[in-house]
Symmetry: C2
Subunit: 104 residues, 2 copies
DNA sequence: ATAATATGCAGGTATTTACCTGCATGTCAA
DNA sequence: TTGACATGCAGGTAAATACCTGCATATTAT
């Protein structure tokens, strides 16, 4: 996984909205997705390209259409690498902070 | 939680490194953190400010020093909002994609 | 074949961002 | 008190980014 690409891809609200749209209905075309975004088709394409480079979206051509599918694997890896690690120490870290605020 | 701030904050490799450094040793000063980054102190400050605005880092002043602590709560919320949601349908989505690749 | 449709490609621009330098302020220790 | 140290603050710049317009290509339906 290219962590940087995944995080950068998730760092934009339009791209997160695209993932949300695909979550609601997987396999949509570029045109369908554009209907829900207030921007030109070409701009949406660029966002989808980034999502695809981050491997968060996979595409399949069907004739003149291009269907978009969510790939949840990178999100899982983000979870493993970033969330679970910190989650494990959540209480400990909060304890550190509390101690510090109390003047040790 | 301001999801956009959290995602934007995580979207930069330097800021992720800062969180890693704080994970290794919580409560470090600006100076200590700077030693591990190849950039000016002022640049690191800006990154830390963004992390603080995203509520991923909390700070405590001790004399002339400023101590930095990880706050894992937003990461947990990212997980709840973004990862778990997609995780639940992981197998289903992969099934959709497989079906599509096989020509339905 | 031809018109309509869906997407691809090549730029151009304004904003954001990630750095920097220079100087100011506040704190500690001798 | 004075020098050293830790951080704050105010810009300035180059690169990245998020939009756009215009035109080209490929597919479908009549």
């Amino acid at each position: 996984m290219d962590a940087d690409k995944v995080f950068k891809a998730l760092g934009d609200p339009t791209r997160r909205k695209l993932l949300d749209l695909l979550y609601e209905k997987n396999g949509q075309t570029l045109g369908q997705l554009c209907e829900h975004l207030g921007m030109a088709r070409q701009s949406a394409t660029q966002h989808l390209d980034l999502l695809e480079e981050a491997n968060l979206v996979s595409t399949v051509r069907r004739g003149r259409e291009k269907l978009h599918f969510i790939n949840p694997v990178p999100l899982h890896e983000v979870y493993e690498r970033w969330v679970r690690k910190f989650e494990r120490q959540r209480l400990d870290l909060l304890h550190d902070l509390k101690k510090e605020l109390e003047g040790e």
